[in-house]
């Protein structure tokens, strides 16, 4: 556990330092930039609400990724699964708008989870029946999933005359309730934190979680111990897809109140970096998701305030991942000796 924390903090610190050099080389003062970033992330209750709303889908998706990676299933289809989740949620909310409010929001969110699980299940099916590696299948399906959302918005789900590919505003009954009155903060973050503890419990205190961990430690040992490799593969993919789908649903029902083209852009990869930095442990994923949620919220404000481009966040993400990956491997090598 301490090793995970050290790795995460060192990785983030080193990445922030290199990013500061980049800012410096572009002729800006990195301290001013980081201050603007912090101001944009924590400056007011409203900013914090926006950031926490960002954290919720990251957290849910990263939990699924962490479970998969634990079982050595490299699911990087988060983006497509989130897209499908948003699509499923919006479709249900627009199809049965007359349903009672609580029923409507619950059904819409569930539809998102089911749609995400089906998308991940499709990837798992291609992997298991045709032997194509899941990395490639999930990556390629990401593009298809995002295009499916675009297709729906230019077809039946689109708002006529909106001028932008988006669905009509959803019924109020489908909106996620607010957590704090007067801010945008919705209950998504609570759902996500509950999910952290559920996934933690599943991973460490159930036979299924044990099977996943054995699988991840050694496929040979898992097969020898009689673990059904196909079943556990499909199982972890479905759970992870459902979590990502729920994340997409929460973003649609809690932030935009409608389906918007490209709403899932970049979420999937961010979730992978969060899962890695969190040491693939559900409890570790929580601080990592908070970090990236606030970082991204602050980055947009930083771009507005001091003109430092917000893609700096992806640079920090990529660098942190590389550092953490190297540190994990190095730790493993030391243990072997």
């Amino acid at each position: 556990m301490t090793a995970t924390i050290t790795r995460g903090l060192t990785g983030v610190g080193a990445a922030l330092a290199i990013a500061a050099l980049l800012v410096l080389s572009s002729g800006k003062n990195p301290l001013v930039a980081y201050e603007a970033l912090a101001q944009g992330a924590f400056g007011s209750p409203d900013r914090i609400a926006v950031a926490l709303n960002k954290v919720a889908p990251y957290l849910l998706t990263a939990l699924g990724v962490a479970l998969c990676f634990r079982a050595r299933v490299i699911n990087i289809g988060g983006e497509g699964q989130i897209a499908l989740g948003g699509l499923g949620a919006a479709w249900v909310a627009l199809t049965i708008p007359a349903a009672p409010p609580v029923v409507l929001v619950v059904l819409s969110a569930l539809a998102g989870a089911v749609a995400g699980a089906m998308w991940a299940g499709l990837a798992a099916l291609i992997r298991l029946t045709r032997g194509v590696h899941e990395v490639l299948v999930t990556l390629l399906l990401n593009f298809v999933g995002v295009l499916l959302v675009a297709e729906a918005l230019h077809g039946d789900l689109g708002e006529p005359g909106a001028g932008f590919p988006q669905s009509p505003l959803l019924e109020r009954g489908a909106w996620l309730p607010k957590l704090v009155k007067g801010t945008d903060l919705h209950v998504g973050i609570v759902i996500a934190i509950v999910a952290v503890f559920v996934v933690h419990r599943v991973l460490w205190h159930t036979p299924f979680g044990f099977r996943l961990r054995v699988r991840g430690a050694s496929e040979k040992a898992a097969a020898y111990a009689g673990i059904d490799m196909h079943r556990s593969f499909m199982g972890v993919m479905l759970i992870s897809g459902a979590l990502a789908g729920l994340a997409g649903a929460i973003d649609v029902l809690g932030v935009h109140y409608r389906l918007i083209e490209g709403f899932s852009s970049g979420f999937g990869f961010t979730a992978v970096s969060i899962a890695l930095i969190g040491g693939l442990s559900p409890l570790g994923v929580l601080p990592a998701a908070l970090f990236f949620g606030f970082l991204e919220t602050g980055a947009l404000a930083m771009q507005r305030a001091v003109g430092v481009p917000s893609p700096l966040v992806s640079v920090i993400q990529g660098l942190t991942m590389v550092f953490v990956l190297a540190a994990i491997a190095l730790g493993g090598a030391r243990r072997r000796v």
Binding site: G131, V132, S273, V315, A333
Partner: protein, 306 residues
């Protein structure tokens, strides 16, 4: 019409071909090439910037190879020095390349806005006499220079891998690195060189996109081509000429998609845009079972530390 589509398939398949050839070297040496997407993007970016600054397409090409190599060096250090997981490292450098190119591009604009840097594109070079051949002339001999370069490179890599000692050593590093070690060569070094070569070639693939096809750089302009190139490697069973054929097929899917968008079809343009990805998936699913990976791919090699 047919001749037209075939010519476009070859042209559009060219960036894939470069990426696939680079990735093939890396994977035959035993290192998964998930970072192809980022290497292409880095190459596309560096090529445009250098051309824009120096107005020399030649320097642009050199820069694009260097850009891909720079990203490859990150992969080398993470996977070969520290033994980091190859696939996830590839993904990490893809994110890094996406962020870095978008960030640096905005450095050429004002107030954090992305500028449009227009650069000239490489014009077709019809080959005298051969270009006048029926069908074949249009398909193969009226192409821009990098397309010829790609085809020649595919032949070169095929011969080099199959017929030279160095090629044999590279393949051995992917099949049985301990044999390479026993033979007196350092397999970690072989893999590192293969990754760097992969970066340079994939970077040129990015240049095909930015300097031969589009004439500018936009955020994330590779749009999954690196992943489709990975599919082409698998479909081609890690053999250069077969990978070339796969790239032409995937190029054809893309060419058809662009062409069909002009017609009035009952399906929307978004469904049609899915074709390259769906075709890649379908072909992979078709050959998946029979594909055999290099035996030691993904196995990290670490020197004994004291």
């Amino acid at each position: 019409m047919i001749e037209d589509i075939l010519a476009a398939s070859v042209r559009i398949g060219t960036p894939l071909l470069f990426a696939a050839l680079g990735g093939l070297l890396s994977e035959r040496a035993g290192v998964f090439a998930v970072g192809l997407e980022g290497m292409m993007l880095a190459g596309a970016f560096a090529g445009v910037i250098a051309t824009w600054l120096t107005s020399s397409l030649g320097l642009g090409l050199v820069a694009s190879a260097a850009g891909g190599m720079a990203l490859a060096l990150v992969v080398v250090i993470a996977t070969q020095r520290y033994g980091a997981d190859q696939m996830v490292t590839g993904l990490a450098v893809n994110i890094l390349a996406l962020g870095l190119t978008s960030f640096l591009l905005r450095g050429f604009g004002a107030r954090g806005e992305a500028p449009v840097l227009r650069v000239p594109t490489l014009a077709p070079w019809p080959i005298p006499w051969l270009a006048d051949l029926p069908v074949l002339g249009a398909v193969l001999f009226r192409q821009p220079p990098l397309t010829y370069a790609g085809i020649v490179l595919a032949l070169g890599v095929a011969v080099w891998l199959a017929r030279t000692r160095a090629g044999l050593t590279l393949r051995a590093a992917g099949e049985n690195p301990y044999a390479v070690f026993a033979g007196g060569t350092d397999p970690v070094r072989v893999r590192a060189l293969a990754i760097v070569a992969c970066g340079a070639i994939a970077g040129l693939g990015g240049a095909v996109l930015s300097l031969q096809q589009v004439g500018t750089f936009t955020d994330g302009m590779t749009n999954g081509r690196g992943y489709i190139a990975l599919a082409a490697i698998i479909v081609g069973r890690w053999r250069p000429m077969a990978a070339l054929a796969a790239c032409v097929v995937f190029g054809a899917a893309d060419a058809l998609q662009l062409r069909v968008q002009g017609f009035r079809l009952p399906v929307s343009s978004y469904v049609i845009q899915m074709t390259p990805y769906l075709v890649a998936l379908a072909v992979l699913a078709g050959v998946g079972r029979s594909a055999r990976l290099p035996a030691a791919i993904g196995v990290p090699l670490l020197r004994e530390r004291k």
